[in-house]
Every structure is written in structure tokens, then in C-alpha cells.
Symmetry: C2
Subunit: 121 residues, 2 copies
DNA sequence: CTGTATCCAGCATGATACTG
DNA sequence: CAGTATCATGCTGGATACAG
């Protein structure tokens, strides 16, 4: 997964939730935005490996899903800020226990990535 | 996503968790096994749309990730039971708040699937 | 019943170049 | 800076047939 989410039919809540966070970078985008707005370039630098095209696309999908708000400042050079909507924040909250599970798993198998600044999540 | 999980490097716990649960049917498999063992055919019937190949593959990956236990009874005809391991149960637990979020989302957008028996999840 | 072996298609993801 | 346009590709997921 995933491209644009399905909008159902869903078998259960897990199904629906995975549908909107399933994109390769989406949970990481939520993570990046968890404490405030970020500009496109900041997100790009914070997500080592994303291409511009893919980042833009996943952000648009999350915007359609009302998880992310896109604020455009009509200045030169362009300035765009992304932030979590209320739904985005609640989704991030719902993902916290999953993140904790993942951290325990990383500890078990020893697969942490130490070359990024936010390795605490 | 996803094929065989990466085994890192991971940026954060969310990353690691999404890696093992990102397969199209994996969260649903967790859901199916949440209350006890199931046979291959039962899972297949409970997951409308999976092909044998894909179901077998995702189960093998979850087995490698130690989320699922595969018990083979050497009888004729073959009898195999799948169940959650301790880690699988803890992952399912960590997913519950996400499932709740998804149910709220379904309620908002009205995308529930009513033709399956376990639409409560 | 529980799979594996092939073959296939689509799409998500990527790299790069170019634009307002 | 913040994208879009194009083109390339790998891989997940799917259909079907066959096997122990």
C-alpha cells in the first residue's frame, strides 16, 4: 500500500486506519509534524530517502484525508507550511502505543538507526 | 508495502511497527486471530478477497516476525492452526486504539462494510 | 486441506529535469 | 522554495493450476 485511500468498504476499524497511514512515509510524516508546523523542505530533509514527487503526493493524500493542513503564504520565494489537523493529532495519539511497541521491537532485534537526530521515537 | 520486513534501519518505533503490520491483510489477520487459533481455510473465508498465495505469504512473514505461531498436525487431510504469539498479542493490543480511531473515522465518512460478520471491529 | 509454482498487472515509489 | 512533468522499476498483491 498505498495510493489514495479507498473510502471503504472496510472490514473493521483497523482496516480503515491502516488505509490512511499505510503509505510508506505517512506515519513518519505524522511523526515529523507531531510538535508543530514544518515546511516542505524541512520535511524532505527530515525524511531521508523520500523523493520530492512522493513526499508531495503523500502530503496531498493526507490533506484529502483531513489529517494534514496545508497553509500557503503568497510570498516570494514560496513558503508553505504543513501541520496536523485535529484528526491528524488524534491519529497520532492513537499511534503512540504502536510506536512504543515498535521501540520495544527495535530494542529486541537491534535495528535502530542512529544517523538521524530523532531516533528517540 | 510490504514484503518481508526490513529488519531496520528504522527512524522511529512507528516505522518499525508499520513495517511488520503494513501488509495488506496483516492487521486483519491479527484481528481474526485475536481470540484464538484458526485454520488456514477459516482465515481464508474470514478474509474475503485474499488469494491462497498471498494469505500463505503474509502468514509466513508474520511467522518470521514472531507474531504468529504455526502449528502443524501431521494428519490426513492436513490440519494447520495459526495463533498469535505473545508478541502478536501485544501488537494487537497496541493496535486497539488505532482500531478505535478507525471506527470513529468510518462513522464520520460512512464507509462500513456490513456484509461481513465481524463488522464490530 | 494446505499449500507451492507460474505468470501477470497495477501501482506506489523513485530519479531527474524543469518551472512559477 | 515548492513543487509538477516524465520516465523507469520493483514489488506487492492477484489468478490459476498443480501437488503432498
Amino acid at each position: 500500500m498505498s495510493g489514495a485511500p479507498r473510502t471503504g468498504p472496510y472490514v473493521c476499524g483497523l482496516d480503515a486506519a491502516m488505509d490512511v497511514v499505510g503509505g510508506k512515509w505517512k506515519s513518519l510524516i505524522l511523526w515529523e509534524l507531531r510538535q508543530g508546523a514544518r515546511r516542505f523542505g524541512e520535511l524532505r530533509r527530515g525524511l531521508p530517502g523520500v523523493s520530492e514527487r512522493v513526499l508531495a503526493r503523500q502530503l496531498r493524500e493526507m490533506e484529502e484525508d483531513e489529517l494534514v493542513h496545508r497553509e500557503v503564504y503568497p510570498v516570494v520565494p514560496p513558503h508553505v507550511e504543513y501541520s496536523l489537523t485535529e484528526q491528524g493529532r488524534s491519529l497520532y495519539g492513537a499511534l503512540e502505543s504502536l510506536g512504543a511497541w515498535g521501540r520495544r521491537r527495535i530494542a529486541r532485534i537491534g535495528a535502530a538507526r542512529l544517523d538521524v537526530e530523532h531516533a528517540g521515537g
